[in-house]
C-alpha cells in the first residue's frame, strides 16, 4: 500500500519502468529515464494503459488528456507526483499487481 506521503518521484519512476518494460517486453534496465517513452514504442493507446495502471496503483487522477508517451520516465513520475500534491486526499488502498 502506498500513501501520498511516501510516493516519491523515484518510486513512481521504478513503478513505471517495470510497467513499461512489461508492456514492451523489454529489460527494465534498458529504459533510459531521460528518453521519451514514445521512442520505446509507447503510443497513445499504450499510454492510456500506463495511465490507468498508475491511477489504480496510487489513486491519483491524471488529467484526461495526459499523454505519457511524450514524456520521459522522470517527467511522467513528476506528473504523477504533482497530481498527487494537487489532490492530497488519502489514496485508496490497492493491491499490488
Amino acid at each position: 500500500m502506498s500513501t501520498a506521503q511516501d510516493i516519491t518521484p523515484e518510486l513512481v519512476t521504478e513503478r513505471l519502468r517495470h510497467v513499461v518494460a512489461d508492456l514492451l517486453e523489454m529489460n527494465p534496465a534498458e529504459l533510459d529515464p531521460d528518453v521519451p517513452l514514445s521512442a520505446y514504442g509507447i503510443d497513445s493507446m499504450t499510454s492510456s494503459v500506463l495511465a490507468g495502471d498508475l491511477e489504480k496503483w496510487c489513486g491519483v487522477q491524471l488529467p484526461p488528456d495526459a499523454s505519457l508517451g511524450r514524456l520521459t520516465l522522470t517527467e511522467a513520475a513528476d506528473e504523477v507526483v504533482t497530481a498527487l500534491a494537487r489532490a492530497p486526499r488519502p489514496p485508496q488502498p490497492t493491491k499490488e499487481r
Binding site: 521519451p36 520505446y40 503510443d43
Partner: protein, 601 residues
C-alpha cells in the same frame, strides 16, 4: 504587367544598351557591345588569393564567343549538344556563350580531368551517363594542349575543343545563329542534382533564361551599377544564372572565383564583395555558416561589407539561426541582416520561384510542430512547441504558385501544407528525351482544370505553404516521415539532432523513416569528434532530442565528416544514406538507438 519584359519596358531608368529589352542573352550581349560600356570590363575572374586573372569587356567576350562558335560549327550544326565543363577563369563564360552563338545546346557539367586518372571515377561515371543521355558532338576544354592530351577513350566519338580559338575567317557562316536570337529555341540542358544515379537534363529555353532572371533582376533591383560576386559552380542552376545570365539581362558586371577558392578561404569572397559598390550575391545557407566559422573576429573587423545590398540565400533549406549568427558575427563589418534575401527555386523552373525583396527583413515564423505534422501552419509564440521557418519571399513577377494536395490535385488554402506547384514563364520544356516523365512533372493540371483555363504547372516535389503571400518550404514530398498517420519533416529531426550536442554543431545530418513495420526514424550526423566517450554522449543527446519532437523509435549514427552522400549541388541524399547505413557500407563511429540493436527489426 503580364511579363517581366513588359514590366521593365515602362521603366524610364532602363537604357536600351544594357540589354534589358533583349529576348535572349546573346541579344543582350550584342546590345551591350554597342552601348557606352562596350569597352569596360563586364566579367572578371579572380584567382585563389583574390587577384585578378582576367577581365573581358562585352566586345571582347563577343569576339571570343564568335571565334569558338565558328570552330564548333565545323564539328556540328545548330541544335547539337556541347559539353561545357565548369572551366576555370573566364573559360566557362566563353564556352557557354560560344555554344549559344553557334545555335547549339550547352550542357554544363562539373569540371573533370581530361586525362584518365585514378580518383575521378564518380565524375567520369556521371559524365559518361550525361553523354549517354544527350549524345554531344563536342566537349570544351580550356587550352589546345588540354584538347590534344584528352583521353579519347573517355568519350569515344566526341571531339575535344579548346574554348580559346583564333578569330574566325570573315567569310564563315553568319553568327550568331538564328537560334541564339529565338526565345523558343533551347539554350541548355541543366542536369539536375537530384538525379546523380540517373541524370535528367532539364531543357531550358532562351526565353526561360531571360524571363526568369529578368524577374530576379526586378525583385532584387539589380542595376547596371550593380556588381555580382559569385563563387558558385557554373554547372549548377544558381551558379549559371547568377554569374552568366543575370549580368546580361540586368546590365550588371560580374566578379567570379572558383568554388574551391571560397571553400579554402571565404575571406576572398568577402573581400571581393567589399571591393565593389552595390553588390548582389547568391549562396546556399552553409556558405554563411562557413564564413562565420572560418573568418576570425579581428579579420572581420578589417572587412567593410556596407556595400553588400543583396545576399540571396537559396538552394538549401534556409535557417533563421544561420542568418542571425552571420549578421551578429559580421556586424563589425557593417553587414546588415536585411541584406539577406531567402529564396526558393529549382532547375525545372529555370531557377527562381520566390525571393524576398531587396533590403526587407526576412520573414521568420514560429509554427506549432504538432499542427504542422497534421498539415496545418498555425503560428505560436511558445518556442519549445514551435518550428522556426524562414519565409522564402513572395513569388517573383509573372509566377503563380499553387499549394496542392498531391492525392486529389485540389488547390489548398493558405496555411495548409501541400505540394508546391509552379506556373511560370521560366517553366522549362521537360527532361531531355523523356516525354512521359516530363508530362507528369512539367505539365501537371489541377483537378478543377476547367476553372484554370488549361493552366499547367511544374510539380516541385517540395512541400510547403503560403502565409500572407510568403512562401514557406517544409520538406520534400518523398522524404516525409509519417508517424502515427502524421507527417513530420526530416529537416526538423536533423536540425534538432545538430543542436543537441557540441560535437554536432554546424555539421550535416540526414534523417529518414525506418522500415514500415518499425515506424521510427534514423538520423545520421557528421562529426569531427573521435573521442569515444564524447561521441557516446553526443549520439544519446541527439537521440533524446529527436525523440522529444518525433513520437517514435529513434536511432542516431555519428559518422565522419563528408560521409553523408550528397548530390553535386550539396543536397543530402537521404535515401542513399539510408541504404548505405542499412547495408553496412557507411560504418558509424558511434550509435544510439531507443530500440535494442541487432535484435528484432
Amino acid at each position: 504587367m503580364n511579363t517581366p519584359t513588359e514590366a521593365t519596358a515602362t521603366g524610364a531608368s532602363a537604357p536600351a544598351h544594357t540589354g534589358r529589352e533583349a529576348r535572349t542573352i546573346v541579344q543582350a550581349l550584342l546590345a551591350r557591345t554597342l552601348g557606352p560600356d562596350a569597352d569596360r570590363p563586364m566579367v572578371t575572374a579572380l584567382d585563389a588569393s583574390g587577384e585578378r586573372i582576367e577581365s573581358l569587356t562585352p566586345v571582347e567576350l563577343d569576339l571570343r564567343a564568335r571565334a569558338l562558335a565558328a570552330a564548333l560549327r565545323e564539328t556540328g550544326t545548330a541544335g547539337d549538344r556541347v559539353i561545357v565543363p565548369a572551366l576555370p577563369g573566364l573559360d566557362f563564360h566563353i564556352g557557354f556563350l560560344g555554344c549559344l552563338y553557334a545555335g547549339m545546346i550547352a550542357v554544363p557539367v562539373p569540371a573533370f580531368r581530361t586525362a584518365a586518372r585514378a580518383g575521378t571515377t564518380t565524375r567520369a561515371e556521371r559524365l559518361s551517363a550525361i553523354c549517354g543521355d544527350c549524345a554531344p558532338c563536342a566537349v570544351l576544354v580550356s587550352t589546345r594542349q588540354d584538347a590534344e592530351e584528352a583521353d579519347a577513350d573517355l568519350l569515344p566519338g566526341v571531339r575535344w575543343l579548346s574554348v580559346r580559338q583564333d578569330a574566325p575567317a570573315p567569310e564563315t557562316a553568319p553568327l550568331p545563329d538564328a537560334a541564339a536570337l529565338d526565345p523558343s529555341a533551347t539554350a541548355l540542358l541543366q542536369y539536375t542534382s537530384g538525379s546523380t544515379g540517373d541524370p535528367r537534363g532539364v531543357v531550358v529555353g532562351h526565353g526561360n533564361l531571360v524571363a526568369n532572371q529578368a524577374a530576379m533582376r526586378d525583385r532584387c533591383e539589380v542595376e547596371p551599377g550593380t556588381t555580382i560576386v559569385s563563387w558558385l559552380p557554373f554547372f549548377h542552376d544558381m551558379g549559371l544564372c547568377t554569374a552568366v545570365v543575370l549580368p546580361l539581362v540586368s546590365g550588371a558586371t560580374t566578379v567570379t572565383m572558383e568554388p574551391a577558392t571560397f571553400v579554402r578561404d571565404p575571406k576572398v569572397w568577402l573581400r571581393a564583395i567589399a571591393a565593389e559598390d552595390d553588390v548582389f550575391t547568391a549562396a546556399p545557407d552553409f556558405a554563411y555558416d562557413m564564413c562565420v566559422n572560418r573568418v576570425r573576429e579581428e579579420e572581420r573587423a578589417a572587412i567593410d561589407l556596407s556595400t553588400w545590398r543583396v545576399a540571396v540565400n537559396g538552394s538549401e533549406p534556409v535557417r533563421a539561426a544561420t542568418q542571425r549568427r552571420f549578421a551578429e558575427a559580421f556586424q563589425v563589418s557593417y553587414f546588415r541582416e536585411e541584406v539577406f534575401s531567402p529564396g526558393f527555386g529549382l532547375a525545372e523552373c529555370t531557377l527562381a520561384v520566390s525571393v524576398s525583396p531587396s533590403l526587407e527583413p526576412t520573414v521568420v515564423g514560429l509554427y506549432e510542430r504538432e499542427a504542422l505534422a497534421g498539415g496545418k501552419a498555425v503560428r505560436t509564440t511558445a518556442a519549445d512547441e514551435g518550428v522556426e521557418l524562414v519565409g522564402c519571399g513572395p513569388v517573383v513577377d509573372a509566377v503563380t504558385v499553387a499549394v496542392v494536395d498531391p492525392a486529389t490535385r485540389h488547390a489548398l488554402a493558405d496555411r495548409v501544407v501541400g505540394e508546391i506547384w509552379v506556373d511560370s514563364p521560366g517553366n522549362c520544356g521537360g527532361y531531355w528525351g523523356r516525354e512521359q516523365e516530363s508530362a507528369e512533372t512539367f505539365a501537371a493540371r489541377l483537378a478543377d482544370d476547367a476553372a484554370q483555363a488549361g493552366r499547367t504547372y511544374v510539380r516541385t516535389g517540395d512541400l510547403g505553404f503560403v502565409d500572407e503571400g510568403e512562401l514557406f518550404i517544409t520538406g520534400r514530398i518523398k522524404d516525409v516521415l509519417i508517424i502515427g498517420g502524421e507527417n513530420y519533416f526530416p529537416q526538423d529531426a536533423e536540425a534538432v539532432a545538430l543542436d543537441a550536442h557540441p560535437a554536432f554543431a554546424q555539421q550535416r545530418a540526414a534523417a529518414w523513416p525506418l522500415g514500415a513495420d518499425d515506424r521510427g526514424v534514423a538520423v545520421v550526423v557528421e562529426t569531427t569528434v573521435r573521442d569515444g566517450a564524447e561521441l557516446a554522449a553526443a549520439v544519446r543527446a541527439a537521440g533524446i532530442a529527436v525523440a522529444k519532437v518525433l513520437p517514435a523509435a529513434v536511432s542516431v549514427y555519428a559518422v565522419p565528416r563528408n560521409k553523408i552522400p550528397r548530390t553535386t549541388s550539396g543536397k543530402i541524399r537521404r535515401r542513399t544514406c539510408a541504404e548505405q547505413v542499412g547495408t553496412g557500407q557507411l560504418v558509424p563511429l558511434a550509435q544510439w538507438s531507443s530500440r535494442r540493436t541487432g535484435g528484432a527489426a
